[in-house]
């Protein structure tokens, strides 16, 4: 006996196996990200008044990445539609763009990460706080390009306290109380930012690997069993759309609001 409904649909459920499988998997993904979102909510409402960061991320870059993912979503669905009408070349083209988008997304994301890891908040022993990008660090002093602030709050709501201009600030090591970059340990906002976007980026990479495989070596299946191949493209596409969907929420809650 062979396993039934690997390609054609079961009459009473109207599904082929993998379709049921992927939706179940996505259901669990919803719960995974759901838990992280509820963590986000609790950390945010639990933060002391005025100490939840606003405007810390690069909105233009975030917007571009949003557009990139949306584009990849439509090319994904178009790639599948092309297979449905037997246009293999168009499929190749569309999913080629999808892969390119994935690459751009990960590239931009890495740049944003890099930017955060080189961004420092320096607490001086006299109580002042300097904030900016690290230019140079030696045994005796640290140079950043940024600004001094009086109150920590000024560093939090950047919608209200826009940073005007950058000066080069050199601080002697012995004046420094604490030096911390904007990595995950900086505060709970950075923690949830890195965790959410990191997990999301892993999904992007995983999805891109699968789609890349189906686009490249995996596409040989098209000649042998076109229906099965089309199904695979549909399944991987569903996953890809889900990844896009998660980003649709991540973008506003992390970048904008």
């Amino acid at each position: 006996m062979d396993i039934p409904y690997t390609v054609d649909t079961r009459p009473d459920t109207g599904l082929y196996n993998a379709k049921a499988g992927i939706w179940l998997f996505l259901a669990s993904e919803v719960m995974l990200f759901g838990a992280l979102f509820s963590a986000y909510i609790l950390l945010r409402v639990g933060a002391p008044e005025g100490l939840w960061p606003l405007g810390w991320l690069n909105v233009p870059l975030g917007t571009i990445n949003t557009l990139v993912l949306i584009t990849s979503s439509i090319t994904t669905v178009m790639a599948w539609a092309a297979l449905k009408v037997n246009q293999f070349d168009r499929f190749k083209l569309f999913h080629g763009i999808t892969l390119l988008c994935a690459l751009i997304f990960v590239g931009i994301k890495s740049f944003e990460y890099y930017d955060k890891f080189t961004h420092y908040e320096v607490t001086l022993k006299d109580g002042r706080i300097a904030d900016g990008h690290l230019k140079e660090a030696t045994d005796t002093h640290v140079t950043i390009s940024g600004r001094f602030v009086e109150e920590r709050e000024e560093l939090y709501d950047l919608h209200k306290h826009k940073a005007h201009g950058h000066e080069t600030i050199t601080i002697a090591r012995e004046d420094i109380e604490k030096l911390s970059n904007y990595g995950p340990r900086h505060n709970t906002y950075m923690a949830i930012y890195f965790t959410l976007t990191g997990l999301h980026a892993l999904h992007v990479i995983g999805g891109a690997i699968v789609i890349g495989y189906l686009w490249g070596p995996g596409s040989r299946l098209w000649r042998k069993d076109p229906e099965r191949f089309t199904n695979r493209i549909e399944i991987s596409g569903l996953f890809w759309h889900f990844v896009d969907l998660v980003w649709i929420f991540l973008f506003p809650i992390l970048y904008l609001l």
Partner: protein, 606 residues
């Protein structure tokens, strides 16, 4: 998945299921659900044994704090080093063993055995499917599981030892103990969760898609229903714990403060963390899994019980529909009761009332299921074989476990009982003489299908009676200890705490524990040793019967109605010689007018 792997089944009958593939493909990288089921079974039984041994050492320490562990004390010191200096268990080692006992028993023992092993072997056969829907994912699930288990085991031997914060791994304790064991624990958990998710997707897809023609939802054996609901629980409850695990991992390795509050002090010093996190968040996410998890532990067991009861009373199970709806109700409700584990976390009365109410409501379907099982016995001509004995013991044992849950479910009485041995006794009554007995029943019951031989009946009975007696001797005293206030997770069994409290009893503090309550530790220790000895007949029997057990004379030795018995023995790759078709419900026993006292599901209507 390609057609080539299905060359054999078409020739049908008694063929060994994988004669042409090599050793690796047959036993290690097999995609056959039956092989995977057996792999899961053997692995999880091994883990159960390991978890049990950890507990034995802990029981020694509780009963004789500070005395060298007999027999294996030297070994412990040699293998684990200073934490077991001179063969004496240190407090750290006690905590490690405690945490790992819980973790191993639940995530590496009972769940894989109940869900993955039995589910894999039996479900596709019962629904008349050739295999699981995604055989390769099935294999991957097992391999990830083994990997997770290895990570857990390895953590015992790293400097600092295994995780020490209990199976519940509460933050901030979990991440502030200076051992990488916690990191191992978290990585291990993420792997185990991933494995469970793969399994759950596979099970649900299989049950939805691969039911044989005629196998409508209401003709599914109750065991399949139980596994179906279980799979949903795993699918939707585990991801939040995975998320929480990732966050705690970040706390541990990336220095974040998801679960670390502002102003956290460790060892008297302010911790070098940003703070701002919430320890309660961990508890919420943990118990969001944790409570459904306890139903993951019990539902498959109930499924096995239903099958064995109807088969051995030769009667349809009583109230099939109520069973199904109750299982569904349990599945549904188990997601909204979790905070009854958190009454004492400073929870307000409104939330407590909500969770208390849902907790009381969820006990209704559990009672319905138990009642149906009891009524099923009524008027049956019961065959008292080994599986049936275990199942008969399951019923009252689960009853005790469930009823003792009610006082815990009321926030008011839980104030007294929370974190005491009463809780330990409560859930062990459900899991040990409950679930594990049902699993034993399942092993004795399906062994003939897997091997073509029965297990030895006499030693099966010896195993049952000894286990039954010692089980109760181990856990019954814990109710008394808990109600008199003995806290759980104390490395010396409460000796020091009790002595201090007694010394100050005059000052109006709550008194310590009486000598009598403390002396119960010794009884429990020896009962536990007895319980260990009682497993020897089982282990020997299991392997001995593989070659020497009495051969079954037909494919259906128990004369059962469900489809797994209508295959060749053991079932070949692809399971059924030809696709089965189902004509009737799962429990047509003793139907008046039928030629035999059982009518298998695939027998056509006249």
């Amino acid at each position: 998945m390609q057609a080539t792997t299905h060359a054999i089944p078409h020739t049908g009958v008694h063929e060994a299921h994988h004669s042409d593939a090599g050793f690796w493909r047959t036993y290690i990288f097999s995609t056959d659900h039956k092989v995977i089921g057996i792999q899961y079974g053997l692995t999880s039984l091994t883990f159960l044994l390991i978890g049990f041994c950890l507990m034995l050492v802990m029981r020694w320490q509780i009963a004789h704090p500070g005395e060298p562990v007999p027999v294996i004390g030297g070994l412990l010191e040699a293998v684990l080093g200073d934490v077991a200096a001179k063969g004496v268990m240190s407090n750290e080692l006690y905590n490690s063993f405690g945490a790992m006992h819980g973790t191993i028993m639940i995530f590496l023992g009972v769940v894989p055995l109940a869900f993955a092993a039995f589910g894999n072997y039996v479900v596709p056969l019962m629904i008349g499917a050739p295999d699981m829907a995604f055989p390769r994912i099935n294999m991957a699930s097992y391999h990830v599981f083994v990997l997770g288990g290895l990570v857990m085991l390895v953590s015992f031997f790293i400097p600092g030892g295994a995780a020490q914060a209990g199976w519940t791994s509460y933050s901030p304790l979990a991440t502030s103990i200076a051992t990488d064991g916690q990191t191992f624990w978290l990585i291990g958990m993420v792997l185990l969760i991933t494995s469970s998710l793969l399994g759950a997707v596979n099970f649900i897809a299989t049950i939805i898609q691969l039911r044989a023609p005629g196998m409508t939802w209401m003709r599914l054996p109750f065991f399949v229903w139980a596994q179906f609901v279980t799979a949903f629980l795993l699918l939707l409850a585990f991801p939040p714990l995975e998320a929480a695990g990732i966050m705690q991992l970040m706390d541990k390795v990336a220095g974040t403060s998801f679960f670390l509050p502002t102003g956290l002090a460790i060892g008297g010093d302010l911790a070098n963390v940003s703070g701002g996190g919430s320890p309660l968040l961990w508890q919420h996410l943990f118990w969001f899994l944790g409570h459904p998890e306890v139903y993951v532990l019990i539902l498959p067991a109930m499924g096995i019980v239903a099958e064995v009861i109807s088969n051995n009373t030769r009667k349809p199970i009583w109230g099939y529909k109520s069973l199904v709806y109750s299982a569904l109700a349990i599945g549904f409700l188990s997601f909204i009761v979790w905070a009854h584990h958190m009454y004492l976390t400073g929870m307000g009365t409104k939330v407590a009332t909500f969770f208390q109410t849902t907790t009381m409501i969820i006990s209704i379907p559990s009672v319905i299921i138990l009642t149906c099982m009891f009524i099923s016995l009524w008027g049956g001509s019961i065959r008292f074989n080994t599986p049936m004995l275990f199942v008969l013991a399951f019923l009252p044992m689960f009853g005790i476990g469930g009823l003792t849950g009610l006082p815990l479910g009321f926030s008011y009485s839980d104030i007294h009982l929370h974190d005491t041995y009463y809780v330990i006794a409560h859930f062990h009554y459900i899991v040990a003489p409950g679930t594990i007995f049902a699993l034993f029943a399942g092993i004795y019951y399906w062994f003939p299908k897997m091997t073509g031989r029965k297990m030895n009946e006499f030693w099966g009975r010896v195993h049952f009676w000894l286990s039954f007696i010692f089980m109760n001797l181990v856990f019954q005293p814990m109710f008394a200890q808990g109600m008199s206030g003995m806290l759980r997770r104390m490395a010396d069994g409460g000796a020091m705490y009790s002595a201090t409290a007694n010394a100050r009893a005059g000052a109006g503090v709550i008194g310590g524990l009486t000598d009598y309550i403390m002396s119960l530790h010794t009884y429990i220790l020896w009962a536990a040793v007895g319980l260990a000895l009682a497993q020897i007949p089982f282990i020997v029997n299991l392997f001995w019967s593989l070659r020497n057990g009495p051969k079954v004379k037909s494919d259906n030795p128990w004369r059962s109605t469900t489809l797994e018995w209508q295959t060749p023995t053991p079932p070949p790759h692809g399971n059924f010689a030809e696709p089965p078709r189902v004509y009737r419900g799962p429990y047509e026993y003793s139907v008046p007018g039928h030629p035999t006292d059982y009518t298998p599901q695939n027998v056509p209507e006249k």
